[in-house]
């Protein structure tokens, strides 16, 4: 819940049209980025002359909150306001932050005037115009670190336009437990970084004073200290991004000019190794193309139907990985077979001359509870032959060729064998299972006419799909 708030005052500020537009624009940008679309921090800026402190940040039932929202002509209750902005292209995205809560946040002044109902909308009463002289800034938040950063940025950027330049008036926040805080913090921090380190990390050799000058140019005021072997840097509140010495080092490199740095080659001597599975894949690809098949590259994500209904099975039996909230059906699951992708490739290339012989060696995804993430990839090899005749002998021949390339003989004891099997994706009596390395490595056969039609194809088709990891 948004129980945190900080605030400050910009006194006697002079806005021009540009400054005013920029003021609104900066709030919007902060809301989109660091405030995470107002979910972490919500900024409210008010004409201080229209209200009187002290201000109270509290929560009330929606029905009890009543005010005229910014740029509206009459008063509404909180629930009515939510309804009012349900179709607003900007504000509708923020309603969910408070919508289902029993109490809504609200800020009142000492006379009960509503400043705002964060994070949705300010009251019209306190709206700022070009003529506003005194601005009250408040940031309500669920993350106090971010709120401090936001407030600091806003006031530092615009205190320039106050009568007393670069002076910000503080505001004291009193919490329910009696604790008080003064905001804005505008914390300046001092860091010490060794010039040697800066030079070493970048790959330059500048003197300490030269480095201090470079950093000062980046608005990180620095000077040399110690025996000249250290640099002290003042980190202003406008640089919330400086959280480690490496951030300072980057600024030094930018000031030096990346393109001025001498390019060197690391002396790192290593011997390269290929990932065995990829090495095998590369070898097989070449020979499959030599065998007359053409390589396809299909999507790893598809619809549930693609891997289940269209192949005559139930989605639960596929052990597929499911995506949460897919935008379209094309991203419902990760594929458990390469076959749908190849069939879709043929369907998209119907005008090509027959026979169409395609292959793909790529990963499918299956659930696996033994893995730390609960799923793993599996490298499959899939080939299809699409023609006026199913060409089972060609697909079978391709399997024999692949086994030959892998030095696996056609023998029951030490090699591979094929035995009749049933599978809803294949034509009855024209399907076989392939056994090798002590396991079933896949299937081949003539595709079932239902599969052919469901993938919007018209010709007979034979297919082969095996896993190749057992052959590593």
């Amino acid at each position: 819940c948004t129980a945190l708030i900080n605030s400050a005052v910009l006194r006697n500020i002079t806005f021009s049209k540009d400054r005013y537009d920029s003021f609104i624009d900066l709030q919007e940008k902060l809301h989109q980025n660091i405030c995470r679309k107002r979910a972490l921090v919500a900024i409210g800026t008010h004409d201080l002359d229209t209200i009187s402190g002290p201000f109270t940040y509290t929560a009330r039932p929606p029905s009890e909150i009543r005010f005229k929202p910014l740029n509206q002509s009459k008063e509404y209750t909180a629930s009515e306001i939510l309804d009012l902005y349900r179709t607003d292209s900007q504000l509708k995205h923020y309603l969910h932050i408070i919508e289902n809560k029993p109490l809504y946040p609200v800020i009142y002044d000492s006379n009960g005037v509503v400043l705002s109902m964060p994070p949705i909308i300010n009251g019209d009463h306190t709206k700022i115009s070009i003529n506003t002289r005194n601005v009250f800034v408040e940031c309500t938040a669920t993350d106090i670190t971010k709120a401090k950063i936001v407030l600091d940025i806003l006031v530092t950027m615009f205190s320039e336009y106050c009568e007393k330049q670069f002076i910000v008036e503080a505001a004291e926040v009193t919490y329910l437990n009696g604790k008080t805080c003064i905001y804005p913090e505008l914390a300046y921090r001092k860091e010490k970084v060794k010039p040697d380190l800066i030079n070493k990390k970048i790959g330059i050799s500048e003197t300490p004073s030269s480095l201090a000058k470079l950093l000062t140019r980046m608005c990180l005021k620095s000077h040399v200290t110690g025996n000249g072997n250290n640099i002290e840097i003042e980190i202003p509140p406008t640089r919330a991004d400086i959280i480690h010495a490496c951030d300072i080092i980057e600024d030094a490199a930018i000031a030096y000019g990346y393109n001025n740095i001498q390019m060197t080659i690391p002396k790192t001597y290593t011997i390269a190794n290929q990932f065995p599975l990829n090495k095998l894949t590369e070898l097989l690809r070449q020979d499959l193309a030599a065998a007359g098949f053409t390589e396809a590259l299909t999507f790893a994500l598809c619809s549930q139907e693609d891997i289940a209904d269209k192949l005559g099975v139930d989605i639960c039996s596929t052990k597929a990985v499911h995506i949460a909230n897919p935008k379209t059906a094309e991203f419902q699951v990760a594929r458990t077979s390469l076959l749908p992708g190849l069939l879709k490739t043929i369907a998209a290339n119907k005008k090509m001359p027959l026979p169409l012989k395609l292959f793909e060696i790529s990963d499918i995804v299956v659930k696996d509870s033994t893995k730390d993430v609960g799923a793993r990839n599996q490298r499959n090899l899939c080939a299809i032959y699409y023609n006026k005749n199913p060409g089972f002998e060609f697909i079978h021949g391709l399997l024999d060729r692949v086994m030959q390339l892998l030095s696996v003989p056609p023998s029951k004891e030490s090699g591979y064998l094929i035995k009749a099997a049933e599978d809803s994706a294949f034509f009855p009596g024209r399907c076989a299972e392939i056994l090798a390395k002590g396991q079933s490595i896949g299937k081949l056969g003539v595709l079932h006419p239902d599969v052919i039609t469901k993938f919007e194809l018209t010709m007979p088709c034979s297919a082969l799909e095996i896993k190749i990891e057992p052959f590593l």
Binding site: R36, L40, D143, K146, K200, K201, I202, G203, I204, I243, H244, C246, I249, E250, A253, I254, Y258, N259, I261, M263, T264, I265, P266, T268, T270, I271, N273, Q274, N278, E282, R285, Q286, A289, A290, G292, T294, E295, A296, L297, F299, A300, L301, H322, I323, A324, P326, E330, F331, A334, T345, N349, L356, D363, S369, D372, V373, G374, A375, R376, N377
Partner: protein, 487 residues
């Protein structure tokens, strides 16, 4: 030859598709192509001409009369209910035409429903007359606008007729010597080839391409990149895991849990399996601390780090998640310098367009060693891109949550006459490396680019769907050249 053809000079012969001479409909006959010609004996020239003919509907009208005339004829003196008229075969078409010709009129308020009456005594079926003229071969006598009107009503069509005009060639002769086409084993054995005349080859024609399979263009480029990394001594990382936990994909890389990239909009989260269960817990504790409190010389992000968020499974958004796993593994042993690379699929849940898909391939290179500098990163990039044939490089400051300094890499594109981005790079943040247990003096430099972009530029492809996925242009795959990347 029909009467339509001008008389021919004696030296020429006009060849018509022969069915014309036989009186059969030429549009039914199939075009068998130009007559065989061997050079020098005769010369042939193709000409085409057009003429007008009736469509089947047009012919029907010549016989039965136009729809509107038939409608007119079927209305008796007392008129006809509209509903009945519409039942007649020519009813619908004829009625609207007859109305626009003002041949009939409609009385909406008649007894028994809307009724149609003749508006004039008699009509002249000019449409039928015009079509009869065409049938008799006098289409030219009609005005062009009449012809176009009838064509619009699909009663008339223009037919193109091709003819071949043949004249004697320079080597014309009435004797025919048969020419051999090719050597045969018998000719070789008997030596008879010495006495035979062989037909000239037409070297301008193409040969017969060998029957072959083909490799996919994107994967051909991948093979070359793999080669380049191996030549530079980089070891391939095991990237065969599309499913990754948020921990390795984001948290281990010091990307905060509130970062926009972890939104539903950019990342695919999993419904099943929804959460990762296994983590190196000591390391996880250090990651939690550096995010929420800082340490190792860092302020940290100072927010509430949640384990539940880190456990969420996703489809990895970058292969840098694998680099993180590898660097962690490297840190668990006595440190030895390493160079790693990977080229594999990543997933983004963003808006799709002509150059963006939900899945694409990322190329990543990583070097881990003592004392690496930003200059070393730039030098490594120069060697890498030189092998791609890209020599002019410039670097621009950039931002990544897990590298600092970060650089965008640009190269000058001669064709586009401008600097284009070719990659992203940086030095991994200490907040990422130190909790893993890597020694303090060790720097890790890294860079990445997509595989699709250079492939599309190299092969001149504008729409990524023609390259990746099932809508691939197979002809392009068949015809694709070698992927040649030359320094």
């Amino acid at each position: 030859m029909g009467a339509n053809y001008p008389s021919l000079p004696a030296c020429c012969v006009a060849l018509m598709p022969s069915s014309e001479a036989l009186g059969t409909e030429h549009c039914q006959r199939q075009d068998t192509g130009p007559p065989v010609r061997s050079p020098q004996v005769i010369e042939a020239e193709q000409r085409s001409s057009k003429r007008w003919e009736l469509t089947p509907e047009g012919q029907e009208i010549v016989q039965e009369g136009s729809h509107e005339a038939r409608v007119f004829d079927s209305i008796p003196a007392e008129g006809l209910p509209q509903s009945e008229l519409m039942k007649l075969p020519s009813g619908k078409v004829g009625f609207s035409k007859a109305m626009s010709n003002k041949w009939v009129r409609l009385d909406k308020n008649a007894d028994g429903g809307p009724r149609i009456f003749r508006a004039v005594e008699s009509v002249r079926d000019s449409v039928r007359e015009k079509l009869q003229l065409v049938q008799q071969g006098e289409a030219e006598s009609l005005e062009e606008k009449d012809r176009n009107e009838l064509k619009k009503r699909k009663l008339l069509m223009e037919v193109v007729i091709k003819t071949y005009w043949i004249r004697k060639g320079s080597a014309f002769s009435t004797t025919v010597t048969k020419q051999e086409t090719d050597l045969t084993p018998e000719m070789i054995a008997s030596g008879s080839w010495r006495d035979l005349k062989f037909k000239a080859y037409n070297f301008a024609a193409l040969g017969i391409m060998p029957e072959s399979g083909h490799l996919h263009p994107l994967l051909k480029v991948r093979t070359q990149f793999r080669q380049i990394f191996l030549e530079m001594g980089f070891t391939e990382m095991p990237t065969n895991n599309f499913i990754e936990s948020s921990f390795w994909n984001f948290d281990a890389l010091f990307q905060p849990q509130q970062h926009p990239a972890r939104d539903q909009h950019d990342t695919f989260f999993l419904q099943d399996p929804a959460e990762a269960t296994d983590f190196p817990m000591d390391y996880l504790k250090r990651v939690k601390k550096i995010h929420s409190q800082g340490g190792y010389g860092s302020q940290g992000y100072k927010y509430d780090w949640k384990l539940a968020e880190a456990r969420k499974n996703i489809l990895r958004t970058h292969t840098t998640a694998v680099s993180a796993r590898m660097l962690y593994r490297l840190a668990q042993q006595k440190f030895a310098p390493a160079k790693y690379f990977s080229i594999d699929r990543v997933f983004r849940n963003e808006t799709l367009d002509a150059t963006h898909l939900a899945e694409f391939h990322q190329i990543e290179g990583v070097v881990a060693d003592y004392g690496l500098t930003l200059g070393d990163l730039m030098g490594t990039l120069r060697e890498f891109f030189t092998k791609l044939g890209i020599s002019q490089l410039r670097f621009k400051p950039a931002y990544n949550p897990y590298t600092e300094p970060s650089m965008e890499v640009f190269s000058y594109h001669q064709g586009l006459q401008k600097w284009v981005e070719v990659g992203n790079s940086g030095v991994f943040r200490p907040e990422m490396l130190l909790p893993m247990g890597l020694p303090e003096g060790v720097s890790v430099i890294a860079w990445g680019l997509s595989l699709e972009r250079p492939t599309m530029i190299k092969y001149g492809i504008n729409n990524i769907r023609e390259l990746v996925g099932h809508k691939v242009n197979l002809q392009m795959v068949y015809d694709g050249p070698l992927c040649r990347l030359d320094a």
